[in-house]
Assembly symmetry: C2
Homo-oligomer: 345 residues x 2
Amino acid sequence: MKFIILFGGASFEHEISIVSAITLKEKLRGFDLNFIFCDQDHKFYLIDSLHMKATVFSKGEYKKMPQLTLNHSSFSQKGLFSSSKFTGTVINLIHGGDGEDGTISALLDFFSIRYIGPSVGASIFSYDKRYTKYLCKAKKIKVLDYEVLSSKEHTNITIPYPIIVKPASLGSSIGVSIVKDESELDYALDTAFEYDKNVLIEPFISGVKEYNLAGYMANGKIHFSIVEEPQKDEFLDFEKKYMDFARSEQVLKADISEELIQKLRTNFDKVYRNLFEGALIRCDFFVINGEVYLNEINPIPGSMANYLFKDFQAAILELSNSLPLVKRAKVSYEYIHSIASAKGK
Amino acid sequence: MKFIILFGGASFEHEISIVSAITLKEKLRGFDLNFIFCDQDHKFYLIDSLHMKATVFSKGEYKKMPQLTLNHSSFSQKGLFSSSKFTGTVINLIHGGDGEDGTISALLDFFSIRYIGPSVGASIFSYDKRYTKYLCKAKKIKVLDYEVLSSKEHTNITIPYPIIVKPASLGSSIGVSIVKDESELDYALDTAFEYDKNVLIEPFISGVKEYNLAGYMANGKIHFSIVEEPQKDEFLDFEKKYMDFARSEQVLKADISEELIQKLRTNFDKVYRNLFEGALIRCDFFVINGEVYLNEINPIPGSMANYLFKDFQAAILELSNSLPLVKRAKVSYEYIHSIASAKGK
């Protein structure tokens, strides 16, 4: 089975994506892999596996690699007299903008390229935290209270301090602050609005229990990872999460009851089913007084949450064999003649 | 000002899009227009304005026209020694799949081409009627009760007959049936499931008052069209709606109170603001006992609802001068060295 690891993107999480791709190179050793890098100008480059290291990107050396264009069913490299095609199932590993906001999914759909990753619709509901709230409300999944600010001027927040201030549409804790009282609010809002024109306010619950659960649908059922209790230091800042994205060692299973595991799975299932098919996602939950709350959905978790799966390679193979079919509408010209003649054209 | 009318698409509403484009050719006479056709194989063709007639498409003659590729900031035609570029603000006129499901929007965003039309997020909330319900619930806009079926087997419908059965994600009444009692249900479901794997059930309210209102945001405020009371014949079937899409004559204003107009506008504003910026949309409302209910959002209405605006050309110019800026994230390589050195790479 051939895979294309697509990474980079014009995203605040661009670097994280590079780290994820380097990690997957190891974790998917033995697979037939091509690495395709999307730079901040939305150009695609073929990176041979020996060049899959940080400095190739940070020093701009990737620009010397072969440039590719996206065509129907493949990426292609144009030579003087011929062109080479790169085909295979894409693993969309672009975190944040481009990868998780639906752009790359739509591009791959349009050019009929199969991919592991969230569909356009699934992206919208996970990338923007406001829409995750809408989804949860509709699917009766508990979430924390929230308020949305769409500009700094409307700052009459009714949620009592301490609060957490987040840009509506970023992962990896970028632009996120805990605000203990009003004196810290302006700075936190400035920071968050730098990344998004919409900002979410939620209550900050100190010491809340957090659990992460990943999974994917294959052969008609959802396959779950182990449940992880993430280490935390109030909350992970960007740099700590960053290190986290390079993780490749299997983590320890959270020491929780079978009943709680079941509750987390039930909530994961409600989020996933009928929306995230084709993707391996991680749901981050809070548990408060025994009740499960969805915190956020990572539709492309760092390094594909490989460390949560006992046999990550088997998971990727199984998922890639169960990707949903994208049905393209068939066009007909049945009515056009009647309308044309009715209009005398 | 230069515009590109983008039409066609792999969509069940492909033909309607052609009709819309032909209509706009007349309505935007005097503008600098290029017509670009997307065929069912997702290939782009430049259609000169003399060839903008139904038979060019139904007979496949468009295949003799110059083929274009989508590049950064333009569509381009490759010649033997040089290439011509076609630039300008795109008017996304692809109804249904591709145009209204976020695909084309994402493509244009990725290649940095400005367009009039719904963003990817706005598309998701209008194309799939389930998500329109989610949006309305979150924004406190009244909608009819509904149930979702995702396969024919789960047919325990609790909404009393008569009901209306709709594919979740199509416009123009395609696949829609009114079901008066259970004996008609199977056939209606078969029809709807032909077009979508999710089907919506709603109560059918005979003789309900319907009003359509279009509008767009420019210069920081929403500009509304007149309110139209659509003619209806129980409900418009595809063929009747089809004729409707070719409309170019201004319709008569609905004879309703100033108070009701205001209520419709307030609801339109709630739907539009902070989501549909950049698009000219039409909202179709029901009025039941003086209360306004949203029926559906048309993010690319047939012929751009030109017939609802007194000065359609002015509207298009004003909107095209107020398109939201798509901010592309700037990439940095600040952290990647620390992670690389921490991992000893």
